[in-house]
């Protein structure tokens, strides 16, 4: 459903491309996670996928970007918005309404949904993020975590085919970050949404993603399933990401020759695999 082929993007006044040689495909209902350091081009990829670049961020695009038959770089973000729902990183600069109810219904009103249907969608969306009963609350009185959930509720209400989320967890505490990924997972299951999530938390990414793309200085450093990507922990670290403790230990044991099999790709698997390596008399 999303397919990129040799995509290259250079901002108008820049000398070097912000993205170069980006290619991947993702089917409906899959969970794609993109990670990389600040200068990796992850924001540029976000902008290309939702059509804000080059429309609002001028530059030259080459290669092919397709969402279905649709090219967001040509159509612009307003038209792309009918297919792709975007969640930006800072909740405060996305909330336009005074009350929770109005915020969630904003996009539905703009798109001309019947008012009767809007009410039902709003309450369903709010319950799915744990904000049921918050309809009349003022948006200004919400905490940071609640605001982020409000943004997610606004996205859920649209039942989008594609959700694009940029660094949504940076201001959240660990529990909030887990909830954020869980909400996206539910959208996948419930509504068949294709999720493209840009984040830095490698632990959560490896737990949820079907496809992991690691960017480094505008190029694709790694791309594959969590299992595939975990076999290259040094590359992950070189991309500026923090390896979860279980991955770091697995990598070290692999280097020392103690771990002979593949490096595990999530925490539970790692605990099982690594405990099996512990000599019996030591762990007794």
């Amino acid at each position: 459903m999303i397919s990129l082929d040799s995509v290259r993007f250079t901002y108008e006044d820049a000398e070097t491309p912000a993205l170069d040689g980006i290619s991947f495909t993702a089917a409906a209902g899959s969970f794609v996670c993109i990670a990389g350091s600040e200068s990796s081009g992850r924001s540029t990829l976000f902008r290309l996928l939702n059509g804000t670049a080059p429309a609002s961020f001028p530059g030259t695009v080459s290669g092919s970007i397709r969402i279905g038959d649709f090219d967001p770089s040509e159509q612009g973000h307003h038209a792309t918005g009918t297919l792709v729902t975007s969640v930006f990183d800072d909740p405060d600069s996305q909330i336009i309404s005074l009350t929770v109810e109005e915020e969630v219904s904003f996009a539905l009103v703009q798109r001309g949904y019947p008012f009767e249907e809007i009410g039902e969608r709003v309450s369903t969306a709010l319950s799915r993020v744990g904000l049921a009963g918050f309809e009349r609350r003022s948006t200004g009185s919400l905490s940071g975590g609640q605001k982020q959930r409000l943004i997610m509720a606004s996205a859920i209400a649209l039942r989008p085919k594609i959700l694009l989320a940029d660094e949504g967890t940076s201001a959240l505490d660990p529990a909030g970050a887990r909830l954020y990924f869980q909400i996206i997972e539910e959208m996948r299951v419930h509504d068949g949404t294709l999720a493209v999530v840009i984040d830095r938390d490698l632990g959560l990414i490896l737990e949820h993603a079907d496809l992991v793309i690691i960017l480094d200085h505008g190029k694709m450093l790694l791309s594959g399933t969590p299992k595939e990507v975990c076999q290259y922990p040094d590359l992950l670290a070189s991309a500026g990401l923090r390896l979860p403790a279980w991955l770091e230990l697995s990598a070290l044991l692999k280097r020392r020759g103690v771990l002979r099999g593949p490096i595990p790709s999530n925490e539970a698997e790692a605990h099982a695999v690594l405990s099996a390596l512990v000599p019996e008399q030591v762990s007794a």
Binding site: H78, G81, T85, S86, V109, T139, G140
Partner: protein
């Protein structure tokens, strides 16, 4: 109540204010508005806007009052001199001006506070068929202007924490400080607004669009309410024309 009818009710208040010249009746209109605010649970906001309008009106009068020469001179600004004559007609005109301003201008924020955002969009873009940009401008200012106070407070705290004395009593210094510290405030708002614009455009807002959101249709009860409002406003004018004159 459907937003279009609320709009007419608001016009009714403004009209009634200008159709009567009686100070007591205009005070009555303000009282009616207050009662409406109270019964709808927005009295606190009403009180704040009324107080702000009172201060604004008073400031206007300070200049206006010396420009009205008609009537009997009541007092001079500077006693025992002939500077700054204040006449009885002057006092009455200024009171009328102030109360009219409070009643008429005050009805606008009152109606806005009783109107949800969706209704505002429905009114401006649906009923009035104005470009979506107008309704968004109104909606965004309602959402962001109340946050300026909080944001300014945070800026003051941040700068005080760096040693900048934000508690200086000197008014000139204070003004200079506010101006200087408005910069971080404005910049953070400008940044937010940039992202906000992209966000709402990806959510379907198109300032150039000719497609209008559906209007909220008034129901029978709305018309009854509007009628009651208009009767109340008309009776004020009636009392003025036929009883007081």
């Amino acid at each position: 109540m459907a937003p279009l009818l609320k709009f007419f009710a608001m016009l009714g208040f403004i009209g009634a204010t200008y159709l009567t010249g009686n100070l007591l009746l205009i005070l009555a209109i303000i009282a009616i508005e207050g009662l409406l605010a109270f019964s709808c649970g927005v009295f606190r906001a009403f009180r704040i806007t009324t107080a702000a309008l009172l201060i604004g009106a008073f400031t206007l009068c300070l200049f206006q009052i010396f420009l009205i020469p008609d009537g009997k001179i009541v007092v001079y600004l500077i006693p025992f001199t002939h500077i700054g004559a204040i006449t009885d007609v002057g006092i009455e005109s200024c009171l009328l001006l102030s109360l009219r301003m409070m009643a008429s201008v005050g009805s606008i924020p009152l109606m806005l506070s009783l109107t949800s955002q969706t209704q505002v969009v429905s009114l401006i873009s649906g009923n009035f068929r104005l470009p979506g940009a107008y309704s968004i401008m109104l909606v965004t200012s309602l959402r962001f202007i109340p946050t300026f106070g909080d944001r300014m407070r945070m800026v003051l705290q941040a700068e005080a924490s760096r040693g900048y004395n934000t508690e200086s009593g000197n008014p000139i210094k204070k003004i200079g400080m506010i101006l200087r510290l408005s910069l971080p405030l404005l910049i953070s708002c400008a940044r937010d607004v940039d992202t906000l614009a992209l966000s709402i455009e990806t959510r379907g807002f198109d300032p150039a669009s000719k497609i209008h959101p559906r209007c909220i249709k008034p129901v029978f009860g709305d018309y009854i309410l509007l009628l009651l409002c208009l009767i109340l406003q008309a009776s004020v004018v009636f009392v003025d024309k036929f009883i007081f004159s």
